[in-house]
């Protein structure tokens, strides 16, 4: 009886292992974790469907590999927890690669975008450099690379500000600025450029603060998946699909910072 039980358990284990192994190689769908409010990388399009540069590239990768793409809007400041809890297979949404992610064991793709942080102010405010903002209030989006920078590499600069206000979306940061509740917004250059171009009375301070790179995060156990996606992206770069997507009008603000196209 005992032997039978052991055998049964062993068989279960074998099937279980076989199950996970085949799931990795015979993947049929791929869940992409995005910040749905991060144009032009990922956002809700005019037709109500998710779109953006990252979404289009991911769709092309899935087409290439024969996967069905599913898009999952993550809560940006808990994105890695949601990745770990299997709610999505990757976080791919203009995500800045942080050392802390690598230290925590996440598999990170090749960096594909060189990002720069800037300060956005009111055009008539007269602020021309980060030094002018000493003693002023600055808003930053919670969970973004800008916030991480102000806590870390740019902590000295942050200390000169009166207050660093964290908002849960970049739209709120800009609303605070336009409503005179803060004096500047610290944000990624492409986001700043696209917002300033569509809203009057704002200006980007011409000073690059902290250059960072974007990549895709996968779970620690998914090295193979990362390699698959990396290879597929390179394939897209080679066959011209990547450049074709990047050439679209809505991505004009980011095209110059795409690493694969400017090598």
């Amino acid at each position: 009886m005992k032997k039978l039980l052991t055998l049964a358990l062993a068989l279960c284990l074998v099937f279980a292992l076989a199950g996970t192994a085949s799931a990795a190689s015979d993947r049929t769908d791929f869940i992409m974790g995005i910040d749905p409010e991060y144009p032009p990388f990922s956002y809700l399009g005019d037709d109500g469907e998710y779109t953006g540069f990252d979404v289009e590239i991911c769709q092309a990768v899935c087409d290439l590999l024969g996967w069905k793409l599913e898009i999952f809007g993550v809560n940006w400041d808990e994105k890695l927890v949601q990745l770990d809890s299997m709610e999505c297979d990757c976080v791919w949404s203009g995500m800045t690669i942080l050392d802390s992610m690598k230290e925590a064991g996440y598999q990170i793709s090749e960096p594909y975008y060189d990002n720069t942080q800037v300060l956005v102010v009111k055009a008539d405010s007269g602020f021309a450099s980060s030094a002018d903002l000493a003693g002023k209030d600055v808003a930053v989006q919670l969970g973004t690379s800008g916030e991480a920078l102000l806590n870390d590499d740019l902590a000295d600069l942050a200390a000169t500000f009166n207050n660093v206000i964290t908002c849960d979306s970049f739209l709120k940061c800009f609303t605070e600025l336009e409503g005179n509740a803060v004096d500047a917004v610290f944000v990624d250059l492409p986001v700043a450029a696209s917002y300033v171009s569509s809203h009057d009375g704002l200006a980007v301070i011409d000073e690059n603060l902290g250059a960072e790179q974007y990549g895709i995060a996968f779970r620690a156990a998914d090295a193979e998946l990362r390699d698959q996606v990396d290879a597929a992206v390179q394939e897209l770069v080679k066959n011209g699909t990547y450049a074709e997507i990047a050439a679209k009008e809505e991505y004009v603000d980011i095209v110059n910072n795409l690493l694969f196209l400017n090598k």
């Binding site: 400041d77 802390s100 919670l142 991480a148 806590n151 206000i165 908002c167 849960d168 609303t175 605070e176």
Partner: protein, 215 residues
């Protein structure tokens, strides 16, 4: 970051959490009574309008009301967004909780038998005296458990102030969680809320016992 620094950092935000909590109670408890009396008004139009306002306040998420109070004036009239977020936060919380308290008060007031009003009238009490000396003391006793319920909920709801960038305890917890890629701040936040509520529960229990003078 050590657990201790985490706790110290987050307890700095705790004073702001407490500010929302106490100010909301201070304003919403009396405001609720006014709303309850308007709701029970014999003038049809007054009670109908109050009823409508209560359905709006109870029927839409508090988070939405917070956004409306904070950013609504800017989007509608182009006026400035408040620099001190405590003001819009307390306004939104007080109005919302007043709606809930009003319904609790109404339930309490309507549970008092009509015979007591008649008896008071016979004894020569004015309407105001009847309400203040006979009805209200009994109402307060009866509604205490429901009020405790709301007060406990309020402690947890203060975390919603993060949607309008008010830097209270939970917002700071989220900031630490981000920069440290750690789940620990949420555990600390949970502990803070729980301890806060245990204290609230104890105090409300004490008050309930004090009011138990006829049993």
């Amino acid at each position: 970051m050590s657990l201790m620094t985490m706790i110290v950092k987050m307890s700095e935000g705790l004073s702001k959490t407490c500010a929302i909590f106490f100010l909301t109670l201070l304003f919403s408890l009396p405001l609720g009574m006014i709303v309850a009396l308007l709701r029970m008004s014999k003038v049809r139009i007054v009670s109908a309008v109050t009823r409508f306002v209560i359905t709006v306040l109870r029927g839409t998420p508090l988070m939405l009301q917070l956004l409306a109070v904070t950013y609504g004036p800017y989007y509608l009239f182009g006026s400035n967004v408040a620099r001190n977020k405590l003001i819009p936060v307390v306004i939104a919380f007080s109005i919302n909780y007043a709606a809930y308290f009003a319904e609790i008060y109404r339930g309490g007031i309507e549970s008092i038998p009509i015979g007591q009003y008649e008896a008071a009238e016979v004894l020569g009490y004015s309407k105001f005296q009847t309400f203040m000396r006979i009805i209200l003391p009994q109402v307060i006793k009866r509604i205490m458990p429901s009020v405790t319920n709301e007060v406990v909920t309020l402690v947890k709801d203060t975390s919603m102030a993060f949607t309008v960038s008010y830097q209270e305890m939970f917002t700071i917890g989220k900031q630490i969680a981000n920069s440290q890629t750690s789940f620990m701040p949420f555990v600390v936040a949970g502990a803070f809320y729980y301890i806060f509520n245990v204290i609230v529960d104890y105090l409300m229990g004490r008050i309930e016992k004090r009011l138990d003078y006829y049993r």
